[in-house]
């Protein structure tokens, strides 16, 4: 019931304005649609005491809670696209969850350099380099060499509210 006060989905012009666009604009319109969403992971305790994790709309969110940010892509065009890279800056108020896919490509320097987290270092407060941690991640990205017409997928990363 608090969904609207909790979560504002402001559809970007690229997704929302398509039907009303002029012919010229449509020629420039993207064949790829990107739609983001966010869910909260909540542990639900059943009457028999067993616990299970559910993805729910993010109401009543406090520091320490887990969020799953997702970006769905869909290729609506009729020709394959190449070098498809989805980059997602992490909001400052969250950190990458420790159980994020270790193969996920991340950046700890604002998107300048990339790699898997285990291969990255960051300069600490004393100036010396130290291994980068999940909390240091500033961006995540997914690189797909090519996507075919009609292909779609969903890219997610787990985050914990600082």
């Amino acid at each position: 019931m608090k969904l609207f006060t909790k979560m504002t989905i402001a559809l970007a012009a690229s997704a929302l304005a398509l039907p009303g666009m002029s012919v010229a604009a449509q020629a420039a319109a993207s064949p790829i649609a990107l739609v983001g969403d966010v869910k909260a992971e909540k542990v639900i305790t059943a009457p028999d005491g067993t616990e299970r994790t559910e993805l729910v709309a993010p109401t009543a969110i406090i520091p320490g809670d887990r969020l799953i940010f997702a970006t769905a892509y869909a290729h609506g065009g009729d020709e394959a696209v190449n070098n498809f890279v989805v980059t997602n800056p992490l909001p400052a108020a969250v950190r990458l969850a420790p159980d994020a896919d270790p193969a996920l490509e991340v950046s700890v320097d604002g998107g300048k350099s990339w790699g898997v987290l285990a291969a990255l270092t960051i300069s600490g407060s004393d100036g010396a380099a130290r291994p980068a941690a999940h909390a240091d991640v500033t961006h995540v990205r997914w690189v797909l060499a090519s996507i075919a017409p009609g292909a779609k997928g969903r890219l997610t990363y787990p985050a914990i509210i600082r």
């Binding site: 970007a12 990107l34 983001g36």
Partner: protein
């Protein structure tokens, strides 16, 4: 790369490092960007932005700041506590002092609860704010630490070495309960307020121990007549000893021992002594003064039990 290193050092997360985490009301906004090559060149599109508002976490801690039981006598005493808003939003807390704790030898009367307005850690009457019922703090920003005083009166019937405890409770005004309890719409900017691990309720115990000291004075006299005997005749020197015994526990403040010079005798100048150390007759820097007219006075000051002090002086029989 030098320029790259410089850019890295400039990269700072804006999320504040609060005990309770990100401040309530913070909007978490997530947008993904895709770039690709569709044959006609490189293109970039943004996803929609999803926004989650961080709700208010209700958490509080309370601790006694007294290093141990407060030593006190019947009368007024002050217990000191420290309250911390461990939540992530601005919150006020209701304070309740309970003097009737199981195991108490006696119960104190709680006169009031005060806030350390000048922040010096010590209760200052007339300076520190006395809370009126219902005793509630101002709205405290996250991580604010507040010193709270509970002003109590120890009843006259309390006797030496008896102890008493006072429990102070702080409860978030928005509400308290089991961790995870949600107060819908009660948080910052109309968001929810959620009870944290502390239950948004904290209790701390302050303790008092009574120290009542008693003073007992025992006066004795030794006579020395001019003939080497102990008869009381003109010219006999009488040495008076006043033994002050301070027993029990605690401290006697400003203990003053006085005695008159008996009629028919004359004070022997220069004979006043405290614990065998001579005191001058004049009213001056030392603890004693003596004269025929005013008698003897010895100021023992603050004396902590157990202790004894011996005052001696000579008179001669006229």
């Amino acid at each position: 790369m030098i320029c790259g290193a410089a850019a890295i050092t400039g990269l700072v997360f804006s999320a504040p490092a609060l005990a309770g985490g990100v401040t309530a009301g913070t909007l978490i906004e997530n947008t993904a960007v895709a770039s690709y090559d569709d044959g006609a060149g490189a293109r970039t599109i943004n996803s929609n932005t999803v926004t989650v508002r961080v709700d208010e976490l209700l958490d509080v801690t309370l601790t006694s700041q007294d290093p141990g039981p407060i030593n006190t006598r019947p009368g007024d005493a002050v217990l000191t506590f420290e309250l911390t808003n461990q939540g992530n939003g601005p919150e006020a807390f209701t304070l309740l002092a309970n003097p009737a704790v199981a195991g108490n030898d006696f119960d104190v009367v709680v006169r009031s609860i005060a806030i350390d307005s000048n922040g010096n850690g010590v209760y200052d009457a007339g300076v520190d704010e006395i809370l009126t019922a219902p005793q509630t703090t101002a709205i405290l920003a996250p991580d604010t630490v507040l010193t709270v005083f509970v002003l109590v009166t120890v009843p006259d019937g309390a006797s030496d070495r008896q102890t008493s405890s006072v429990d102070l409770t702080a409860e978030a005004v928005t509400g308290s309960g089991a961790p995870g309890t949600v107060f819908a719409g009660a948080g910052v900017d109309g968001g929810d307020a959620i009870v944290g691990t502390t239950g948004a309720l904290a209790t701390a115990r302050g303790q008092l121990v009574v120290g009542v000291a008693n003073v007992e004075l025992v006066k004795s006299v030794v006579l020395r007549d001019p003939f080497g005997g102990t008869s009381a005749v003109p010219g006999t020197v009488a040495t008076f000893t006043i033994l002050a015994r301070i027993s029990g526990s605690g401290t006697i403040n400003d203990l003053l021992v006085t005695d008159a010079i008996p009629d028919g005798t004359t004070y022997v100048p220069g004979t006043l002594a405290l614990d065998s150390a001579a005191l001058s007759d004049a009213e001056d820097g030392d603890a004693g003064a003596a004269s025929d007219a005013a008698g003897i006075t010895v100021n023992l000051g603050d004396v902590t039990a157990d202790a004894t002090a011996s005052v001696t002086f000579d008179v001669v029989i006229d």
